[in-house]
């Protein structure tokens, strides 16, 4: 190989070697365990022991099918043993008069039962995967009968695990440790009767019949394991203390500091530990040679808890959880509590996490996550949360709710070793702690009473007030920014009411009645609507409390004052020199009297000379009352002496003479009149 290529090869290998080293460093250990790995004071973590989510019904049944795939139901496989055909005695060890024979298991079972006076060993042999039991009547198929309402062992184990918050894998391993039921391809009925070894004291009297039966055994054992965890002070072994644990049946043992509740529970159930001889003769986990046993001569060999540990590691992986001592000390709680809240409320979600280890632990990332209407709405999160030794911390985050909808708040956890683990980490040892809360976020503030204008009928130059009622149901005051009743005149011009800035709606559901007042100068139909400013104009905020809330109206601004009755002379055909009275009536629809200044019926004689009727100064039209417009009538007399055509017209003085003011209410109003004397 050319030298340069060799160098390149070396250089190319460097990143691969580096990466491989990193990956290997990060992988959890997967090597087989040996007896030296058995820790008497820490057999299994509480978190693993109580994780009842590890297997489904189907998982359990699949597992049973896999472990003993072929069942020797008819007992056709061979069995070798010592047998005396005369006495019928059968033994595994040689005895006087015995021959070493090989028969089928079925024949052996018959001979066994006959010799021992039992009824446990005859066919059919029902393997656990094929076992069915009606959990109510406890009728089963061990005698080959069809069982009405029979359920699978997967269902029995699963629901016991669920009910007592115990890992179903713990129950499976216990079935194996006590009776070998998981792997037995020709189980006898006594294995089912005492399937979990529940109520089977090690006193030589055998198992008691009160708890005989598969379902009863599984349920009772699961309940008892939970009882050990719940009431540790009432039993023989306790976590966090030195305990004396013996080697069965010897009067010897060692002092063991039991580190956790699950390990104590195992000893409460099986009160012995494997002696050093058992551990040194323990095969590596996963060994095809099984867990192993000591050679003859060790009278202190006991295998129960060793086998539990061995089968669990072989079948289901480590008995230790990552950060197994990081546990939930409380469920998720919300403050304020309740199933509903309001926009603008501050919601605090909290839970406690404890560390049962005697050293501090980086629990990973802990926080409070949430979704609002299906969108992420996390409260907060912190990485590398340290939980002190034997300590408890509170994880608490608050968030101000800004959007109405359905809010789901949950404990949130991430550990680099196993990723997101909201569903089970920190571990809930006792079960039943809430990890999630759901609540409805109601909208707030809300317009409870829509846009109202007052007075109902208003005219130009008349103060008009717009009313709006808003309620804030949240627990704190809210500054909604700027709010205005926008207005557009008949020509589309902006004639908004004065804007209100920093509008604060007080908390607690008290209604805020907001008002805006202004006058308008142009008569006609106006458009009024609610408008909110918080960076941009928004006509939808605050939301309406109901569909009945009016957010926009088109309303007329009336002209005012108006002449409702034009020039009228009385008498209408006066003679020369006769007094004649001119009248003009003016209407005021406003809520205040209007002083329009001076009003006169002006007159011009045939020669064009001024023959005005007398001026009425401070011509004041009273306000409307009770919905009835106020009116004032100009009424002045005078006489005329010349013959000819006279012309009269309405004239208003307010600094200058104006013949167009006040306007006429309609075209029928006579603003000019001609009279011939």
């Amino acid at each position: 190989m050319p030298r340069i290529l060799s160098k390149i090869s070396i250089l190319l290998m460097l990143p691969a070697v580096t990466l491989a080293a990193i990956l290997i460093f990060r992988q959890p250990a997967t090597h087989a365990l040996t007896g030296a790995d058995f820790q008497a004071g820490h057999i299994i973590d509480d978190a693993v022991f109580t994780d009842n989510s590890t297997m489904s019904v189907q998982d359990i049944n699949n597992f049973l099918n896999a472990e003993a795939p072929t069942c020797d139901t008819s007992g056709s496989l061979s069995k070798s043993y010592y047998y005396n055909s005369s006495s019928g005695e059968v033994e595994k060890d040689s005895f006087s008069g015995a021959s070493y024979v090989t028969t089928t298991r079925a024949i052996y079972g018959q001979r066994y039962d006959t010799w021992n006076g039992t009824t446990i060993a005859t066919t059919p042999y029902v393997c656990l995967k094929d076992y069915r039991e009606n959990p109510n009547t406890h009728q089963n198929n061990l005698q080959g009968a069809t069982v009405s309402g029979g359920v699978t062992p997967g269902e029995i184990i699963y629901y016991a695990a669920l009910a007592y918050h115990i890992n179903p894998q713990v129950l499976l391993v216990t079935l194996q440790k006590e009776q070998g039921l998981i792997t037995d391809d020709w189980p006898w009925t006594n294995e089912y009767a005492a399937a979990m070894g529940f109520d089977c004291p090690d006193d030589g009297t055998g198992c008691h019949s009160a708890y005989a039966g598969f379902t009863v055994q599984v349920n009772s054992a699961a309940a008892q394991l939970r009882n050990y965890l719940t009431n540790p002070g009432g039993f023989n072994f306790i976590a966090g203390q030195n305990n004396s644990i013996g080697y069965y049946p010897c009067n010897s043992g060692t002092t063991v500091f039991i580190q956790n509740a699950a390990t104590a529970a195992l000893y409460d159930y099986t009160p012995y530990q494997p002696d050093p001889d058992v551990l040194s003769n323990t095969n590596p986990t996963g060994s095809p040679n099984g867990p192993g046993s000591v050679s003859d001569g060790d009278t202190c060999a006991t295998y129960g808890n060793r086998n539990f540990w061995w089968y669990f590691n072989t079948w289901f992986g480590s008995t230790y959880a990552i950060n197994g001592s990081i546990q939930s000390a409380s469920g998720l709680s919300l403050s304020p509590s309740g199933s509903s809240s309001y926009v603008n409320d501050s919601l605090t979600a909290s839970y406690q996490v404890k560390n049962t280890a005697s050293y501090s632990i980086d629990a990973g990332s802990l926080g409070v996550c949430a979704t609002l209407n299906g969108q992420w709405y996390d409260f907060g999160f912190a990485n590398d949360v340290i939980v002190p030794a034997n300590g408890t911390i509170t994880v608490s985050y608050s968030k101000k709710l800004t959007v109405p909808g359905n809010l789901i708040v949950s404990m949130c956890s991430y550990n680099p070793a196993f990723g997101w683990a909201n569903a089970y980490y920190p571990y809930d040892i006792n079960g039943g702690l809430s990890r999630q809360a759901t609540l409805t976020v109601n909208d707030s503030p809300l317009i409870t009473s829509g846009l109202i204008l007052g007075p109902t009928n208003f005219a130009i130059n008349q103060p008009v007030t717009a009313y709006l009622s808003i309620k804030n149901l949240s627990a704190s005051n809210i500054n909604i920014g700027s709010l205005v009743i926008a207005a557009r005149d008949p020509n589309g011009n902006n004639v908004d009411f004065p804007i209100k800035n920093d509008v604060t709606i007080p908390a607690g559901g008290t209604t805020s009645n907001l008002t805006w007042t202004r006058t308008f100068t142009v008569p006609g139909n106006y458009t009024f609507y609610v408008a909110h400013w918080n960076g941009t104009w928004d006509t939808t905020y605050p939301d309406s409390a109901s569909n009945a809330v009016v957010r926009q109206v088109i309303w007329p601004v009336l002209d005012n004052p108006l002449i409702t009755s034009g020039i009228s002379l009385s008498p209408s055909s006066p003679a020369k020199g006769q007094n004649v009275t001119a009248t003009v009536t003016v209407r005021n629809v406003g809520s205040n009297p209007i002083d329009i200044g001076s009003l006169v019926v002006a007159g011009r004689d045939p020669g064009g000379n001024n023959v005005d009727f007398p001026i009425e100064n401070d011509f004041t039209i009273p306000a409307a009352s009770g919905g009835v417009p106020g009116t004032k009538t100009y009424s002045e007399p005078r006489s005329f002496s010349s013959s000819g055509a006279y012309r009269f017209y309405i004239a208003h003085w307010n600094g200058t003479w104006d013949t167009t003011y006040p306007k006429s209410i309609d075209n029928s109003v006579a603003r000019q009149l001609t009279l011939t004397l």
Binding site: P201, D202, P249, T270, T299
Partner: protein, 191 residues
């Protein structure tokens, strides 16, 4: 005599390639570190997992050796009730008494006892200190699921005239035979 190794000469080309590779390695490590930590923060949506990190179901047929103990038991005319203990129980008429724990909680001295070989009788707890009156409690032997025990004794700490070291002993009388606890840790320190 070993062949003298050739000195590795660093040429410009070699240095260039080495530099490039170094950049790739460092870049790769930086990317890896960033990538491996980027999902720790709130930026990544949480995905709830339903599987324990320890879950590793081994769906394979059990080796025949797993049935050795069971098959062995089936050959015995007096099979053990479980597979936990391959040894026979103690001889009839003899039994042992073991104090499994003697500890204090906030209010009591707790003493738990395991009896091996006796299924009935009475238990007497004696807690004593030189020069002091012995504190005693009695209970009947009971079956506690899989073991015969003396129910856990709870002696209020208020009954002790002083703390310090106290000796603990449990005596069981069954079928006219009396046996005292043997190898428990003694004395117990009351704090």
């Amino acid at each position: 005599m070993a062949k003298k190794s050739k000195k590795f000469r660093i040429t410009k080309k070699t240095a260039l390639i080495s530099g490039a590779m170094l950049v790739i390695i460092i870049g790769g490590l930086v990317y890896w570190h960033h990538h491996s930590n980027s999902n720790k923060g709130i930026v990544s949506p949480p995905q709830a997992s339903t599987k324990s990190p320890t879950s590793k179901n081994n769906y394979s047929a059990a080796p025949a050796a797993d049935n050795n103990a069971n098959n062995d038991r089936k050959g015995s005319s007096s099979p053990s009730s479980t597979l936990e203990n391959y040894q026979p129980p103690p001889d009839t008429g003899s039994f042992s008494v073991s104090i499994t724990r003697a500890n204090t909680d906030s209010t009591d001295l707790q003493v738990a006892t395991l009896i091996n070989g006796a299924t009935s009788g009475s238990c007497t707890l004696n807690v004593y200190q030189a020069g002091q009156t012995t504190i005693s409690q009695s209970e009947d032997v009971v079956l506690q699921v899989n073991s015969y025990v003396c129910p856990v004794f709870n002696v209020p700490l208020s009954q002790f005239p002083n703390h310090g070291q106290w000796n603990v002993s449990v005596t069981v009388t069954s079928n006219s035979k009396t046996v005292s606890s043997n190898w428990a840790k003694n004395p117990v320190s009351l704090n």
